[in-house]
Amino acid sequence: MNGNPTLERIARSNGLALCAAGPWTARFAPVLERMVADAEKLGGTRPNIFIDVSQVSKLDTFGAWLIERLRRSLTQGGIEAQIAGLSANYSSLVDEVRRVKAEPIVETDRVTITGMLEQVGRSVAGIGGTLIGLIDMLGAVLAATGHVIIRPRGFRLTSTIHHLEQVCWRAVPIVVLITFLIGCIISQQGIFHFRKFGADIFVVDMLGVLVLREIGVLLVAIMVAGRSGSAYTAELGSMKMREEIDALRTMGFDPIEVLILPRMLALVLALPILAFLGAMAALYGGGLVAWLYGGVEPEAFLLRLRDAISIDHFVVGIIKAPVMAAVIGIVACVEGLAVQGSAESLGQHTTSSVVKGIFFVIVMDGVFAIFFASIGM
């Protein structure tokens, strides 16, 4: 490299020469752009301006374009500015950039208040669409289930077992650990506050009812939405991106039957099992803390627990599990199939799968609370 590029103004007998020299390459593009912008101001001030490029040691697209840009801005009033001293090596490159059309139209989205309001309106209107999408998917899954019941050979047992392993068996350690810790915390807090009234033993009632009716299943459902719902969306979404789902469809398979039904079934079976294990772990953790921290002997804990809870509490909890699983699964699959071509879209839909999944789980929990209260369970 022979130093930096330059653009000198030299007065010659036949007019003003702009002598370009040195390497006119991408590396020096910022410097070159400034020099060219300076020289462009000469346009129209003098009649005969030409660009001499004979001293240019190296030229690439950046340099060639900047010279071309200079030439265009010097070309005014019908007199075309000339480029002199162009070596044969570079003439094809200069010809190439000469074909570039001037000034591309740059479209930028401007942020306006009406635009923002429009966005809000569209989001609100979109809620209806989301609900219809979910009901649509529910219908499709039920139809596929009907198909499989009529024609059991279409049922994908291997796939279902595989997903069951993924969402149930592999989730056991983390679910048990977290519910165990939550049980410990509820118990500790209960004892701490109940002790002021000398009502330590009532912590068992609170723990039993809370864990079996609400916390056990709700917590596990939220964990499953985060763990398996997101995985379903990402799997289906990337299959959608690579046209794998289209490929299935063209081979005469129903993607709902092949991909979604096994996943849904695995989830519906997994969540009650995980909710049961979670509830047991939480009770165990709570009992352990009650014993070590509150001095409630295990025998006393169990006796009290037997009095405090009935089978109803357990049934109320466990009945919710498959319904919540279905909600999580349907949301995850709808989001997965809604993924467009880009990585960004995959990320957005995975996020909204988890967010919507958790939202609907909590809404369902509220609906169940009203229902069980009204039937007196």
């Binding site: 390459t25 991408a26 590396r27 593009a29 910022p30 752009e33 690439d60 697209t61 950046f62 374009w65 900047l66 840009r69 090596n89 094809s92 490159l93 190439e96 950039v97 074909r99 570039v100 059309k101 591309p104 740059v106 479209e107 991106m241 467009q340 071509g341 880009s342 990585a343 960004e344 879209s345």
Partner: protein, 256 residues
């Protein structure tokens, strides 16, 4: 390949690459001369893409030395390495365009990162590059998912060329293109090599590309370069795979 080429832009010496227990490249030597278009062929699964990826540093090697632009890539500091990376461009087999960016942003991305230039120049250079690869400026605001396969290849080439590299790696540039599109692409690579003085390292399966675009051909087999030379050398070779490749039914069709 014992003879040293003085102006080698890529110099690969005794490269060994192993995945688990399978040895993919076994003491491979290769030189690429400045300004040439090297066609790189070999049976499927022989490790052509692996060699490309090893040279550009995406696959770790267990032995050997790679010099690009005379810089030993293992000994280079990270600044030196970045300098080298700025001087090469890579066209991946599937294009590897950033799916969440538009064509415009894809092409401008490397320029924006390395050079502090105005948005106006970025746009103009982007249009120039699109023109060079034979695309019209109106594709600039489309996303990669809205492009056809051939357009993706072209945009990916435009991105590879964005910083005006001296060396371009093309991994099966014509695969998935129709014969006319593939022919245009070969022509395009030739033109760019002439106008920009590029060195091109092209992995290919396309016999037409070998005949029309490449100056020299290297053949990979059993983890080594089994032959390197002009197309005439290849046709004269007695190696069984080469005989089949260059004298098979398809080769005869190409040669007319």
């Amino acid at each position: 390949m014992a003879d040293e080429i003085s102006d080698a832009i890529i110099r690969v010496r005794d490269i060994t690459v192993q995945f688990g227990k399978t040895r993919v490249l076994d003491g491979l030597n290769l030189d690429v001369k400045r300004g040439e278009i090297l066609g790189f062929v070999g049976p499927s699964g022989a490790g052509k893409s692996v060699l490309t990826r090893t040279i550009i540093g995406l696959v770790p090697k267990i032995a050997g030395r790679i010099e690009v632009f005379g810089i030993d890539l293992d000994a280079a500091s990270s600044a030196e390495r970045r300098g080298v990376e700025r001087r090469w461009g890579i066209l991946f087999q599937q294009g590897a365009l950033f799916s969440s960016l538009t064509v415009r942003q894809n092409i401008q991305f490397p320029v924006r990162e390395y050079l502090k230039v105005s948005q106006r120049l970025l746009d103009e250079i982007m249009i120039a590059k699109l023109g060079m690869v034979g695309l019209r400026p109106d594709v600039a605001d489309r996303y990669p998912s809205e492009l056809s396969g051939g357009m993706i290849k072209r945009v990916a080439l435009a991105r590879a060329l964005a910083l005006d590299p001296e060396l371009v790696f093309l991994d099966e540039p014509t695969s998935g293109l129709d014969p006319i599109g593939a022919g245009d692409f070969d022509e395009l690579v030739r033109t760019l090599q002439r106008t920009l003085g590029l060195t091109v390292f092209m992995v290919t399966h396309d016999l037409d590309s070998l005949y029309t675009a490449c100056d020299r051909i290297a053949v990979l087999g059993n983890g080594k370069i089994i032959a390197a030379g002009s197309i005439a050398d290849m046709q004269a070779s007695q190696h069984p795979w080469l005989r089949q490749y260059f004298h098979g039914k398809r080769a005869r069709a190409v040669m007319g």
